[in-house]
């Protein structure tokens, strides 16, 4: 007789086959299909999916390094939060800039890129029933990335690269700083090549039939955006490295800013595409949700591929060298197509969960499906919080701040980090944390320790980030500049109330750091002393109760896709969006009152 955990995980296995994750795989014998190989793969005990052992190895080491860089960036983050909290003002200015450089590179580049390479290897092998293209290429990628990240962090700690993440010229760091970034960028590009080569081989040898699964499609979007970002990285970093060596003259600072943001902003769009793919994946793993309409979801990813990169221009909205037409086209008309894509995903992910919950009988009231959702599952709560923070705080502020006219009252204030901490940390990092609650049991084959603590971790982290982002946004609205360790010289200009918001920033930073530390301790502790689940399904985090009402598409018809709860939530979002946008235009009008 099967145990309860086995029964629940067998449900997951059927969800995986039927929904977002499972490609239609052919059993015909060929030399690239995992299921027909004599060795080099295993069948996942929980999902039934084939796992390429080469890919599993590189997913593991990339994920471990990602968590190490997350911890380094997190330690820098708490020091920064305790400095911007004016009452504490912990660090002197030189160490503030050192830690800000360390924080930016480890959190926005290393943690994210290492984790994304892990996601790409998973999406192109397990989900396509294909073996990884090349183990050697994967080693080259990982080696370059690890050496490059090590070089960058070493130079920063030596105090020879206090130039922040952006390293705007004419600020100049030690050549090893630029060389390290080039190594990380090229190493990532090599990893992306391995992903595309695996896609090619999987398609050529027909390891699957029809279209790739939605999650693989989302990962492909992330990989394409990464290519654009890394091309810009090469264009800007190679001449800057040569300048730091004294081989060539200084590149033009305005040119540097424009090309650098082709790397800096677009690397965050890689995160967005990967994050959305993870939303769909975790929704399937936790509730059995499947996309309402695959074509619409894929179309939204195509909008990302085509239009999300040009939004880099909103970093240059106050630069004098580029004209208004270039700015408005790239940040408004075209960028809104990518915003539309985010809003499509923001609707379809919760709507697919609502449909899945209603299919399982949770039809009481408008929000009965939501209250009955698997909240004991930290992966589920992490992606719900990720969707909410990304949309309500990061998305609304991002579109508003990306408007050329409004940007003039917000540029270089704390409102900007208030926005991107909601997208990159509250959105992406939280989604990556949520996925990790499945990555460790499924690919490291260890069940999590201290599950009760794991259940509160996403809430602690999300609560802290929300408080910090809101505190930053309000302090920035009062004029507090970003990238400065101390506002004391200008404190009178801001007013006393600004200390309340900087206090929110500090308290939020402490809470978020505790959430991050808890995540790292739980994950590392599980890898070291967690119970092995090899040969059996992973221990279930908790699935929604099946009340036994299974409407099929044929019997349910239109009823099958009714999502009144999600429609109301989306309505609340749109009202909040309109109010915030209008309030900012009003604030702009107040700058130049007509008397």
């Amino acid at each position: 007789m099967k145990s309860e955990a086995e029964n629940e995980m067998s449900d997951v296995a059927s969800d995986v086959r039927e929904c977002t994750l499972g490609a239609d795989t052919t059993e015909s014998s060929n030399r690239w299909s995992l299921r027909t190989l004599a060795s080099g793969w295993r069948k996942c005990d929980s999902t039934g999916l084939p796992v390429c052992l080469d890919a599993q190895f590189f997913i593991r080491i990339n994920a471990v390094f990602a968590v190490i860089f997350l911890l380094i960036g997190g330690i820098a983050a708490i020091l920064l939060a305790l400095t911007r909290w004016e009452t504490v003002n912990l660090l002197p200015s030189d160490w503030f800039y050192r830690m800000l450089t360390l924080h930016g590179l480890n959190m926005l580049i290393f943690w994210i890129l290492f984790f994304e390479i892990a996601v790409l290897y998973f999406a192109c092998t397990t989900l396509l029933n294909a073996k990884l293209f090349s183990r050697k290429v994967a080693w080259v990628s990982f080696g370059m990335m690890a050496v490059g990240a090590g070089m960058v962090n070493t130079v920063i700690f030596q105090g020879q690269a206090d130039v922040l993440l952006t390293s705007y010229l004419p600020l100049l760091a030690h050549p090893a700083f630029y060389l390290g970034i080039i190594l990380v960028a090229v190493g990532t590009l090599v990893g992306v090549f391995n992903f595309f080569a695996t896609l090619y081989m999987a398609r050529r040898y027909r390891t699957y039939i029809g279209s790739v699964p939605l999650v693989t499609f989302g990962a492909t979007a992330a990989a394409i955006i990464a290519v654009v970002a890394l091309l810009h990285g090469a264009i800007v970093m190679i001449p800057t490295f040569m300048y730091s060596m004294g081989w060539v003259g200084q590149p033009d600072p305005m040119w540097y800013r424009m090309i650098w943001w082709g790397l800096g902003h677009q690397s965050q769009q890689v995160n967005v595409a990967a994050m959305v793919a993870i939303w769909y994946m975790v929704a399937t793993l936790t509730t059995g949700a499947k996309p309402l309409n695959e074509t619409v979801c894929r179309g939204a990813f195509v909008l990302y591929i085509l239009f999300i990169n040009i939004a880099s221009a909103h970093h240059l909205l106050v630069d004098p060298g580029v004209g208004a037409t270039w700015k408005i086209w790239n940040t408004s008309y075209a960028m809104y197509l990518a915003v539309l894509a985010s809003m499509i995903h923001g609707f379809t992910v919760p709507a697919s969960v609502e449909v899945a919950m209603r299919r399982n009988g949770h039809i009481k009231g408008i929000f009965g499906w939501l209250t009955a959702a698997p909240w004991r599952n930290p992966a589920f709560s992490a992606i719900v919080l990720s969707v909410v923070i990304f949309g309500f705080i990061g998305g609304i502020t991002g579109v508003t701040l990306g408007t050329q006219q409004i940007n003039i009252i917000a540029h270089n204030t704390l409102r900007i980090p208030g926005h991107f901490h909601a997208t990159v940390v509250g959105g992406t990092t939280l989604a990556f944390m949520g996925l990790t609650y499945y990555v460790v049991p499924l690919l490291f084959r260890k069940d999590y320790i201290l599950k009760r603590l794991a259940r509160i971790q996403p809430w602690l982290f999300a609560g802290g980030i929300t408080l910090m982002s809101v505190g930053k946004s309000f302090a920035g609205s009062m004029g507090v500049a970003r990238r400065t360790s101390d506002i004391e010289p200008a404190a009178e200009a801001y007013g006393a109330a600004v200390h309340v918001f900087l206090g929110m920033l500090g308290v939020g930073g402490v809470l978020a750091f505790l959430g991050l530390l808890l995540f790292v301790l739980l994950t590392v502790g599980t890898l070291l002393i967690g119970k092995s689940n090899a040969g059996r399904p992973m221990e279930c985090w908790g699935k929604p109760v099946d009340l036994g009402r299974h409407d099929t598409p044929s019997s349910g018809g239109e009823e099958e896709h009714k999502t009144p709860g999600t429609v109301i939530l989306v309505g609340i979002f749109l009202i909040a969006f309109a109010v915030y946008y209008f309030a900012n235009w009003t604030a702009l009008a107040d700058v130049w009152p007509v008397r």
Binding site: I224, I225, V227, M258, G299, V302, N309, A313
Partner: protein, 53 residues
């Protein structure tokens, strides 16, 4: 052969685009390079040098 061609004809062009990662890769690289990078680069090249005081 004929059956395969008929099936391909039936598939909508947007679906064929979505099933072709190489076409998406080319479009995804070319559009931002033209709209953001090349256009922005040309704008910067057209900025006249500042006169020395």
């Amino acid at each position: 052969m004929e059956k395969a061609m008929n099936e391909q004809e039936k598939t909508h062009i947007l679906q064929r685009l979505m099933d072709n990662p190489w076409a998406l890769l080319v479009l995804g690289v070319v559009i931002p390079l033209l709209s953001y990078t090349l256009w922005g680069w040309i704008e910067l090249l057209r900025v006249p040098p500042a006169p020395l005081p």
